[in-house]
Amino acid sequence: MRRVISTPRDNWLATVTKQGLTYNRLPDGRDYWNESAYYELSKAEAKVVEDATNELQNMCLAAGQFVIDNARYGDFGIPGDATELIRKTWTAEPPALYGRMDLAYNGSGPPKLLEYNADTPTALIEAAVIQWFWMKDKFPRSASQFNSIHDKLIWKWKDIKPYMKQPVFFAHCELEEDTMTTCYLRQTAEDAGIETRGLLIDQLGWDIRKQQFAGLEGERVETLFKLYPWEMMVKEPFWKNVMQSHPVPIWIEPIWKMLFSNKALLAILWEMYPDNQYLLPAYLDSPKDMLNYVKKPKLGREGANVGIYKSGMLQTETDGRYANSGFVYQALTESTQFGVKTAVVGSWLVADAGACGIGIREAESPITGNFSQFVPHIVTG
C-alpha cells in the first residue's frame, strides 16, 4: 500500500460537486476532496482489509451478545431506560443497513480497529460514488477499486423491503453533508423500489392524540431512517415516545447500534479477544500499564477530545465537547503513518453483505478529524 502523487483532473471541483460532493470546503478553507494524491493497494492488501472487516464484524456481534448477557451497559454510559429496547431489538433483529469501521492499516501487518461508526456513518458519497468516477476517469482500464458500496446498499434495501412499512421516512439535520448523505441513501432506497419521504429531524412529529410518530402532513411514520445518533435521541424529549410506541416505527439504524458506535466496544473486544491480530489493547477508565496510548472519548466525533500519549506523557490533544462521556484508552499504533500523513481506512459494511469498500481520509496531524481530507484509492495487481 502506498501513497502516490497524482495530477488532478481538469475541472475536478465542478465534477465532484455535480456528482454530489457539495460539502467540499473544510473549516480551514482547504478542499475536503483531494485528488492530488491517491492510495494504491494490491489485490492481496484489499483482501486483507476485507477479511479483517468481516472477522471484526463477527467479533462485534459476539461482543454485543456479551454486553447484553452480562448487562455491561454501564461501561457504555447507556441510560437504564434504553437497555430494555436494546435487548428487545437485538433479539428481534429489525432491519439494519450499514456501518463503517475505521482501521489503521498501511500494508504492513494486519489492520487494527480504531473505532466502529455503526449508527450514523458519513463520508459515504465520496467513498461510494465520487472516488469511483475519479477512478473511471483516471484509470479507465488499468485499475480497479475496492468498492461495491452502492450496489450492496441497493441490495440491502431490497432485502429488508418486505419487513418495512412504506413510505420510509428519511430524517437528518440541516447540514449540507448530512443532507446529501441522507439524500444519497434515500436514492439507493428508491432504486430498490421503495417509496420515500424526507424531513428534518426536528420536524418529526408526535401525534398526542393518536400516540404515534407523524410526518409533515400528520401521516403515521412506521419506518424511519435517521442520520441522527441514538446517544442524543435518548436524552431528548421524544425519547419517551420511542419507548412508548415500540416497535413502531422501525428505526434504521436500530437502537442496539449504540453498543457498536461507542468506543467502550474496543475495551470489550480486547477483554474478549486479547491479542487478536485485528485489535489493539484497549481499556476502560485508565491506560493500565500502557505508556504509548490514545485517550478517546467513548462518544467522540471527528477526532474531538482525543489525546496522544508517549512514554506516559501527553504529546498532543484536541478539544471538543465530548469530554463528559467517559474515556477509552487504546494502544498507539504507527500503522496509520504514510510519511508525514496520517491516514485512516474507513471500511464499509452493509448488513449481511459484509465488507464492501473503503474510503481513506488523511491528515497532516496525528489525529484525523474534521480537517481531514478524503483521498481516493485504486486496487492493482
Binding site: K18, M232, M233
Partner: protein, 117 residues
C-alpha cells in the same frame, strides 16, 4: 471485492440533485405567547382581544411564529419570524385531521456541527 460499474451508479449523480430537491422545504407555524414561548395551537385559534385596545398592548397575547427553532411546549422560539416567509408552505402543529402534533422533540443535539461520524 471489486465490481463492474452498474447502471444505477451511472445515474446516481444526476439523481442525487433531484432527490435533494425533495428535501423538506417549509416553515412550521407555532403558537407562542407574549414571552415568545410555545403554547398549544388552540390558543391562537381562539378569538383574541383586539391588539392596541387599552390594557392589551400592541400585540395579541398569542400569535403565530414561523420557522426557526424551539418546538416543545414552553420552549422559547428563535431564528424565525412573526411574518411568514413568502412562497414557503406553512406546516401547522395540527394535522389535517385535527390531531395535536408536537414537533422538535429530536434535534436539539444538533448545534451546527455534523452529527455524522
Amino acid at each position: 471485492m471489486t465490481r463492474r460499474i452498474s447502471l444505477s451508479l451511472l445515474t446516481v449523480a444526476a439523481m442525487l440533485s433531484m432527490s435533494c430537491e425533495h428535501k423538506p422545504k417549509g416553515q412550521v407555524a407555532r403558537c407562542v405567547d407574549q414571552n415568545g414561548r410555545v403554547v398549544g395551537d388552540d390558543k391562537c385559534d381562539q378569538p383574541q382581544h383586539t391588539p392596541g385596545t387599552p390594557g392589551w398592548g400592541v400585540y395579541p397575547y398569542y400569535r403565530w411564529y414561523y420557522g426557526g427553532q424551539g418546538y416543545a411546549f414552553g420552549a422559547p422560539v428563535t431564528q424565525g419570524s412573526f411574518d411568514p416567509a413568502p412562497n414557503l408552505p406553512i406546516f401547522r402543529e395540527s394535522s389535517p385531521e385535527g390531531s395535536a402534533i408536537m414537533r422538535g422533540g429530536f434535534g436539539s443535539g444538533f448545534s451546527g456541527g455534523g452529527v455524522g461520524a
